[in-house]
């Protein structure tokens, strides 16, 4: 009678076919970590961007009226448009940072950012400013999908 430490033939045949657990490798663990936290990081960072611009548009609208298309930048209408834009940015920023209806907030951000990109292109054509906003728009588009979100205010 002999005792073999080798696994049975069936197990030996099946072992190479079974995929290794993703978390077994550093790359796999990094991937799992990114999958768990990247949507949250993207959401919070986009919220910070919107908050920064929203706050400054609210407190110093005169610095932003030049971006309002079709309206004289020194006019009251341009200032009102900037203030309304800043207010909406601030509300969306809080929603994103705190994780309140994130997909809805992201969708609204997509509309806002698309409007910004289109107006920039219409006024000044493609530029570094425009392309930078295109990237932010892409982030907002990504956040409209279903992702596991952490650090959210669910109540």
């Amino acid at each position: 009678m002999s005792i073999s430490r080798k696994p049975p033939p069936a197990r030996r045949a099946a072992a190479p076919a079974a995929p290794a657990p993703a978390a077994a490798t550093p790359a796999g663990r990094a991937g799992e970590l990114a999958a768990a936290w990247a949507p949250t990081a993207g959401r919070v960072l986009l919220g910070l961007v919107l908050a920064w611009f929203g706050y400054h548009e609210l407190v110093q609208p005169g610095l932003w009226t030049g971006y309002v298309p079709l309206v004289a930048s020194g006019s009251a209408l341009a200032a009102v448009a900037v203030l309304a834009h800043g207010w909406l940015l601030l509300v969306l920023a809080v929603a994103l940072i705190c994780g309140i209806a994130t997909r809805v907030a992201a969708a609204a951000a997509v509309v806002l950012l698309a409007e910004i990109v289109i107006s920039l292109i219409a006024v000044g054509g493609l530029s570094d400013l425009t392309m930078r906003d295109v990237g932010v728009l892409g982030l907002a588009v990504c956040l409209t999908g279903r992702h596991p979100q952490r650090l959210v205010l669910r109540r």
Binding site: T102, D128, L129, R155
Partner: protein, 194 residues
């Protein structure tokens, strides 16, 4: 069908409502001070053009870099830049030190001498021409591609600065917002000439 990943609960809605109210308060604050906080001679304000003194025909020095001479400033329908604060008088004396002003760190000297890289960036979309005239200088500041206003005389003026609070609104040869741009003239001691 799965529910949304992050529903808006009462606490979330309350927070959004508080944010909305805070935003309205900030907007009221911004509306009331929308014309303040800018440097004197702000190019983007609606300040009425100051009285200008036409200078004699003398050799002119332009502070605008050559690359910007024919640029298209896309700051909208603003007709022309006002090179001086509203209500100022060429006969007024020197004011406070530029170095003591909160916007001093955003002021870039464009005359005399050759503007450095930061000043050239601040001049994006602007054309500034300076001429010596007697004990002072005449300055013409305009949006590139638009008609220049009449030159303005600054008695005792010795240096010309462009104020650009943020270069983030400059792209290529365009400045999307004149609201943070201004022009300052100082005397030889660095005091702002009104």
């Amino acid at each position: 069908m799965r529910p949304p990943t992050t529903p808006a609960g009462p606490a979330g809605l309350t927070l959004l409502a508080v944010t909305a109210i805070a935003g309205i308060i900030l907007a009221v604050h911004g509306w009331s001070g929308r014309h303040s906080g800018l440097a004197p001679g702000a190019l983007g304000t609606t300040a009425s053009p100051a009285s200008a003194t036409a200078g004699p025909a003398s050799p002119a020095r332009t502070a605008a870099p050559a690359g910007h001479a024919s640029t298209d400033r896309r700051a909208g329908s603003r007709s022309a830049a006002s090179p001086a604060p509203a209500g100022s008088s060429p006969a007024a004396g020197p004011g406070p030190l530029l170095s003591a002003q909160p916007y001093a760190s955003y002021a870039f000297r464009v005359w005399p001498g050759t503007p450095n890289a930061a000043a050239r960036a601040a001049l994006t979309g602007l054309t500034v021409k300076v001429r010596r005239q007697g004990s002072g200088i005449t300055v013409t500041a305009s949006v590139s591609g638009q008609p220049a206003p009449a030159p303005r005389f600054y008695s005792g003026g010795a240096r010309v600065y462009i104020v650009e609070a943020s270069l983030g609104d400059d792209s290529g040869n365009s400045d999307y917002s004149l609201g943070d741009d201004g022009l300052i003239v100082t005397d030889a001691q660095g005091r702002i000439v009104q």
